[in-house]
């Protein structure tokens, strides 16, 4: 399942780092972050609890980039 979320982040490199962090999160199959569109598209693994996974994704993103936000 794929879902797209709005994000807030200040620089392009930070967006790249968010993408890398989100990809490593358990339950996330794949993820792309578009800094230009300020969007994060997450592909979840089969049967993943979307809300819980997204919480983890946000936590991991905050770790690499303090100043980011994901709207879910």
């Amino acid at each position: 399942m794929k879902k797209t979320y709005g994000i807030e982040v200040d620089c392009a490199n930070c967006a790249e780092k968010m993408e890398a962090a989100a990809k490593k999160t358990a339950g996330v199959k794949d993820c792309t972050v578009s800094y230009m569109a300020l969007k994060m598209t997450v592909e979840f693994e089969e049967g993943a609890d979307v809300k819980a996974v997204m919480k983890e994704v946000l936590k991991n993103c905050k770790k690499v980039e303090d100043d980011c936000e994901i709207f879910f």
Partner: protein
């Protein structure tokens, strides 16, 4: 500018003024100078310092805040107060510019794509009520007033108007619409009042589909973008370790050799390294170029589903096209009326149209359409359809026979054979040959120019595939100047033909297939780049293709290729420029020729130039 940006600007101005003012503090007052310079340094840099500190706590050391903090604190420790503050200052100016430029182009592009309707008018008890388009059910009747956008796809019940489709197709000539016509959402009603019965939900309407497609385009990343992400991931750590090596190894060697170590000089050089190490110019400018390119293209009626497709489009060397609906109109029309001696054009057409008036065959429809006048069917008697041959009838007391050559042969008539491609209707009046009418699928007006433009844009081979007869196909291909033509193909054959061509081409060259999205979804999928044309309102085409041409103008194929070329040129320019300048500055920095100021240019200056260059991808109107 938003609030955050305004605050940043104020901080930049204050600290810039202070830095300039503090230059007048005499050198001897060391403590005073240090304290004085710390004021602008903290004003401009406190956020970066805090972020760098947090980064260290989270073990994220190679982050640009950390680099800037180390470089500036290092410079201050070496006694270069003004340089330390200046680096931080320019870094912030760069950040501000980046966020401003990106925000602005983001807005520009979304304005280009400003086709989202805000409301739909629903008539209730004689008054119009504005509602959210999302809440309108299929089959509701909506009213579109002059100047408003059509919010949802539907069919016109009442009224007629000129519709501006420029935002969807790039076509500036308005389209006429009247009762009974289908309209798609996103058009602007220029003059009339329209009552429309909706045929889709808002979410399924053309406008929503297009917006979704364009907004998601940047999540399909191109090879260049992936290359840059990988490069950035390696680049920063490599430069940082080089900086560390530069700070330690030469002084240590100096010590071993018995020379003075000169730590200050080497640490200074290492710090310039750190300033250059930020990959921001690359990381921002490449996606920005693609984003702008896709935005500019969509304004021209070319929807590209992803940066990767834009990249592939620029390498297209083979264009394989479907005939019907792509190069030709896909509508049968009377293209020639050739009467025998003693019969006029109008007479011939009139008799033929009357004789065929009871038939619903496409041929008879085109005859009637070409005749153009009302047909009084009472004048037609004794209609006799002869299967596989044609039709005989008595029109106004005159016997008329309309049909193919078999009909003429069976009537044992002496007739002029026509060898032209298309469907030929021979007409006999009172058992005498009266002439023929040629009905064929007409070429689109600009098909020929389109093929020429493709060639000019560097396409090696243009190929046409069609299920039609060889004679028809060869004539069309000859007229258009196509390189190759394959005719009498079944839909499945088209896939295998495309596969044959795919096998022949070199791996760097891309093959594009252009079709109208009807019946050719498998071929669209098999080609490197599938281009669907005339997709206004056709969901199937939008789904199956990688690139969607909103109107059915084949000239857009070359245009799309040119747009992608321009975009890719900017991408390469930026990659080479940014990496080149940085590498040169790194070398000069290591040799001690480039100082901190050069390093700042390599970081902020390159980024600004790259961003400005990237935004040029938006301008594609005159390509």
């Amino acid at each position: 500018m938003n609030k955050k940006q305004k605050m940043a600007l104020i901080r930049i101005i204050i600290s810039a003024v202070l830095v300039i003012a503090f230059r007048f503090i005499p050198e001897e007052l060391k403590i005073v100078r240090f304290v004085a310079y710390m004021i602008p340094y903290l004003i401009i840099g406190y956020k970066t310092l805090i972020k760098a500190f947090k980064g260290i706590l989270k073990r994220q050391v190679f982050d640009e805040n950390f680099l800037m903090a180390v470089a500036t604190i290092g410079a201050i420790c070496l006694g270069d107060y003004s340089e330390g503050v200046a680096v931080m200052l320019f870094y912030q100016i760069g950040e501000l510019f980046e966020s401003y430029a990106v925000g602005k182009s983001r807005r520009n592009i979304s304005e280009l794509m400003d086709i989202r309707p805000d409301f739909a008018n629903i008539e209730k008890d004689g008054t119009l009520e504005q509602v959210d388009p999302d809440e309108v059910e299929v089959g509701s009747i909506i009213v579109v007033q002059p100047g408003e956008k059509v919010p949802i796809d539907g069919v016109i019940l009442e009224g007629n108007a000129s519709l501006d489709t420029a935002a969807l197709t790039g076509e500036s000539v308005p389209r006429q619409a009247k009762a009974g016509d289908e309209v798609i959402s996103g058009c602007i009603n220029l003059n009339g009042l329209l009552k429309i019965r909706t045929t889709k939900e808002f979410g399924e309407s053309t406008v929503s589909k297009i917006l979704e497609l364009v907004e998601n385009a940047s999540s399909r990343k191109s090879k260049s973008e992936n290359f840059i992400s990988k490069f950035a991931r390696v680049y920063t750590p490599v430069v940082c370790f080089s900086a560390l090596a530069l700070a330690l190894i030469p002084p240590v060697i100096n010590l071993i050799m018995g020379n003075p170590a000169d730590f200050t000089e080497w640490i200074y050089r290492a710090l310039t390294f750190l300033v250059i190490s930020c990959p921001c110019a690359l990381v921002i400018s490449i996606p920005l170029s693609f984003f702008a390119g896709i935005g500019g293209a969509s304004r021209e009626g070319v929807l590209v589903k992803g940066s990767n497709y834009l990249e592939m489009l620029s390498e297209v060397k083979y264009v394989v096209m479907d005939k019907t609906g792509t190069l030709t109109k896909g509508v049968f029309e009377v293209t020639e009326v050739k009467p025998a001696d003693g019969v006029s054009d109008a007479e011939l057409l009139e008799y033929a149209a009357y004789a065929e008036s009871f038939s619903n065959h496409p041929i008879s429809k085109s005859l009637k359409a070409s005749y153009g006048k009302e047909i009084d069917q009472n004048k037609v008697k004794n209609v006799e359809e002869i299967s596989g041959h044609g039709v005989k009838a008595v029109v106004n007391g005159v016997t008329v026979a309309v049909g193919n050559n078999k009909l003429m042969d069976s009537m044992k008539l002496d007739y002029v054979k026509c060898t032209k491609a298309g469907t030929i209707c021979y007409v006999a009046i009172e058992n005498k040959f009266a002439g023929y009418i040629l009905i064929s699928d007409k070429l689109k007006e600009n098909s020929k120019d389109a093929v020429k433009a493709m060639k000019a844009a560097g396409v090696k081979q243009t190929v046409m595939l069609t299920g039609d007869a060889k004679a028809v196909a060869d004539e069309v291909a000859g007229e258009l100047g196509l390189d190759k033509v394959f005719s009498e193909l079944l839909p499945a054959d088209k896939v295998s033909k495309v596969e044959e061509i795919l096998a022949l081409k070199q791996s760097k060259e891309q093959l594009a297939f252009v079709g109208d999205g009807i019946n050719d979804a498998p071929v669209l999928g098999r080609a490197d780049v599938g281009i669907a044309m005339g997709a206004m309102g056709s969901d199937a085409a939008i789904e199956a293709a990688d690139v969607v041409l909103m109107d059915d103008d084949p000239a857009k194929i070359a245009k799309a290729i040119k747009i992608s070329r321009k975009c890719m040129r900017l991408v390469y320019e930026n990659i080479i420029f940014a990496i080149g300048v940085k590498l040169i500055c790194l070398v000069l920095g290591a040799l001690g020729i480039a100082n901190m100021w050069v390093a700042i240019f390599a970081d902020v200056g390159v980024m600004i130039i790259a961003v400005l260059n990237a935004i040029r991808a938006l301008r594609v109107k005159n390509l």
